[in-house]
Structure formats: structure tokens, C-alpha cells
């Protein structure tokens, strides 16, 4: 029997793709209005589309002092909803931001859209979630994040779920853009799913 249990697999891109929101020509430290949000979203979308399949774009907002709800919704809310809608294929977004007040607006936008995104304090930091995911998916996501990379069989065992239920949950998380789902062939003639965290 071949075990696909692996050590943690690094992200596809060798050098992380980082988009410094405050560094661009969008308003510097002050990000307000939907208009500005749209401009940032379009620039982010362009970078996202240029990534290889499985690629991760880190959206670094740490240099931003002020972000209002409209900006947060128009830039991140809309983009995350498009990622979850499959518009960018298997390309992912990770928010690089510390746990501070400004996150409230991102959180509010994503919650209203019943969406979530992965957040890290710094590139390579421990992932957390901003926004909302259904309760029953939280444990699944946490288990995948803890493992770094895990097969469906191992994950099902860990969570005490049957393989189908486990696969359904992980597939949903992959669709939301919160994990990466890989299909590999496994003996005998079957398919083995592996889930990886994206940050």
C-alpha cells in the first residue's frame, strides 16, 4: 500500500507573490471609497490571473492606515467572491495583515457575503481565517491547516467522518479558495485526494 501522507508541501511559487496595497498608486495609507477599491481589485485580479495554477497571491495591507467598509468590500469582498465562484481557477488569495481594528471592515464584508479568506500576520506566518465559514467546515479546515498537507483518507480518520462526507467538506473549502485540493492516482486504479493549506 502506498501512503500518500507527506511532509508539508511548500507553495507552488518559489518566491511568494506579494501585492503591497499601500505601495501602489491607489491612495497610500488611506483606502476609502468603492472607486479606490475597484482600482485595487482590478490590479489584484491582473496579478492573480498571471499566476500559475495553484498559485497564491499575498495581499499585504499592513502599510494601510485606514480602510473603510466600502473599500474593503469592493476590493477584497468582491474579489474573494469571484475566487469562490471559480473565476480564477485554482488561484488563491491570502491576506497579510495583523489582528487589528482595520480587519473589522474586511471581516464585515466577507461575513455579509458568507465568505472567508486566509490571513497571516506575515508571509509564512500561521494561517488564520477572516470572514465566516459554516461551523461544520471549521474543524475540517483547522485539521488541514494543522497538517499542512493531508490525504482524504487520513483526514476522514482524524475527523471521524466517512470518506464521502470528508471529501465533500474539503471540496467545499477548496471552492471557497481556502485550501488547495490535489487529485492523484492511487492504487489500485483509484483516485486519491490530497488537501493542502495555501499559506
Amino acid at each position: 500500500m502506498i501512503s500518500l501522507k507527506t511532509v508539508r508541501i511548500g507553495s507552488v511559487a518559489e518566491t511568494p507573490e506579494i501585492f503591497d496595497v499601500a505601495g501602489g498608486d491607489f491612495g497610500g495609507k488611506l483606502m476609502v471609497t468603492r472607486r479606490a477599491g475597484r482600482a485595487v481589485r482590478e490590479a489584484l485580479a491582473e496579478r492573480l490571473e498571471a499566476l500559475p495554477k495553484g498559485g497564491v497571491l499575498h495581499v499585504d495591507t499592513r502599510g494601510v492606515e485606514l480602510m473603510d467598509y466600502s473599500f474593503a468590500d469592493e476590493s477584497l469582498g468582491v474579489l474573494v467572491s469571484r475566487v469562490a465562484g471559480g473565476e480564477y481557477g485554482e488561484r488563491y488569495l491570502v491576506l497579510v495583515e495583523e489582528d487589528r481594528d482595520m480587519l473589522e471592515n474586511v471581516e464585515a464584508s466577507l461575513r455579509q457575503r458568507s465568505l472567508a479568506m486566509t490571513r497571516v500576520d506575515e508571509v509564512g506566518g500561521e494561517p488564520a481565517i477572516v470572514g465566516s465559514i459554516p461551523d461544520h467546515l471549521s474543524d475540517t479546515l483547522q485539521a488541514i491547516m494543522d497538517a499542512g498537507s493531508i490525504t482524504n483518507a487520513d483526514l476522514a480518520k482524524k475527523l471521524g467522518l466517512n470518506h464521502t462526507a470528508c471529501n465533500n467538506r474539503a471540496t467545499r473549502l477548496a471552492k471557497l479558495g481556502l485550501i488547495h485540493r490535489k487529485v492523484e492516482s492511487a492504487s489500485p486504479g483509484g483516485r486519491q485526494y490530497t488537501y493542502e493549506r495555501i499559506a
Binding site: 476609502v32 472607486r35 466600502s70 464585515a108
Partner: protein
Amino acid sequence: MSGVLTLGTLDPAFEAASRVAGEPVALDLRSVEFVEPAGICGLAALLEFLIPRSEEVSLALAGRDVPAYLERMNFFRLFGDRVRTNADVASLEERQRHNPGTLQELVKFQTEEEIPGVVRRISEILENQGYRLRERVAICSTLSEICANAAEHGASEDGFGAFATVQAYNHIVSGARRRGEEVLVAIADGGVGIRKTLSRNEKHAEHTTTDNDAIRHALKMGVSGSGELGRGGGLTLVAQISGRAGGSLSLRSGSGRVTAYHDRKNSRTVPDFPGTFVRVSLPRHLETAPQEKSSR
């Protein structure tokens, strides 16, 4: 007119304005001793309504302080050539303006593009006043959301756009017997108002019977005219931010006026007037002063 020019004290004038049909109008503000931002924005919107409907609008002011403050707030730069006034505006304009760094002059805007500039200026004022980043973020994101609403909804056919003004005080203006500091944000637009905006969307039908119903509904998360997902969050967050600070968010639209505090909302019916008026009170360092100290 009482001693303080607020949105509420303008209600009799709003009521009378609807009856104006070409004749000259005299606005008597001689009893006004103190003007708060919502009063200036309200007066500006009232004048925008009256000027095209009246042969001549005149403004009577008393004393030196109120005309000087209005001048400092750029009021006469916006209206000086459109209304007649007994105030000696020329002499006020000649004075050396000191910059107290605590106010945003009355500014008229029509598009979203102008908003970051206004917000940046307010952020600087607050920084000068020693407001921490966290407080500035709360205040400025409040301001930008309301300005964005005003720019979006205020640009109706005969609308004048929107007015905004901000003043930081070293004392509490709203309510009594409390010590602390306060920032007042006021914005007024000449748009169709909250009820009409929400009425465009059928799903709000049962919440748009009265202006007060519509305003209360608009304060809920996710309620917007377009009904698009993600919209309608700004106002809700503004109410939360002001409520948490111990302040309030007050909305006047049509014949409704709702004030939201952290634990309650008060509604009252006011004279019908076009547009939407927003007043946000953001106190800090609040302290409920004991009765005996309240006169200090």
C-alpha cells in the same frame, strides 16, 4: 430660533421653505450664539433649496462670533454672492485666518473622487489633536462611508451634490453633564432621500411605509437600494463605531429622523424636506461628571 444652530432648530425653516413660491425670504438667525456642524450643513442645504425658489434670500446674523465662525467655515465663500446678509463679510475675510487645526471647513462635493481628499484632511486634523491611529481610523472610515452615500445618492437631477463639515471640540457638545472631547461630523445631500432610494427595490416594500421605517431599515446590515450583495454595510458600521464610543448617529431624511445610540434608537417625525442629513457624534475621554462639578 434657539441659541444653538443644529439640524433640529432648523425644522421650522425647513417647514416654511416648502411654501416658498418666488417671494423674498428672510432667515433670521440673530438668536444663534453657537453653530454646530450639522447646523451649518443644514443651513447650506436649506439655502440650496431656497435660492432657486426665491427672488432673494437674506440672512440676518447677530454679534461677531457667529458670522466669524461661518466665515471661518468657508460658508460665505460658498454662499456670499448668492444670499444677502447683514454681517460685514468683507471685514471678516480681511482678517488673518489662524488655523486651529480642529475643523474641516464646509466643503461641497459631487463625486466619490473628492472624498479621499476630505478624509485625508480630517485625518490630519485629528492627528494634530492627538487622536490615536485607532480613533482616527474609526472617525475617518465613518466620514468616508457617509460621504460616499451622499455622493452616490445626492447627485439627483436637481441635486446640489453634498456638503460635509467636521469640528473637533475640546469639550462635549451633545448631551449634558459629561466631560470629555467630541468630534462632530455632519453631511447633507440633496438627493431623493432614504425612503425613495430603498423603495426602488421591491424587497424593501414593507419597510418603506414611512421615512422613519425606511431610515431604521437602512441602518440594518446589508440593506441597500440596489440590493447587491456586499452593499449596505457602511451605515451599520458607522452606527456601531459611534455607539461604541458613547456617541450617536442621527439621520434625517424626508419627514423622518432617527438617532441611533449603542443601546437604542429614537425616532421622531419632522417637517418634510428633501435630501438626507447625517450627524455623527464621536466622543472620547468620556466621563460622567458628578452633578456638583457639572457647572465647571
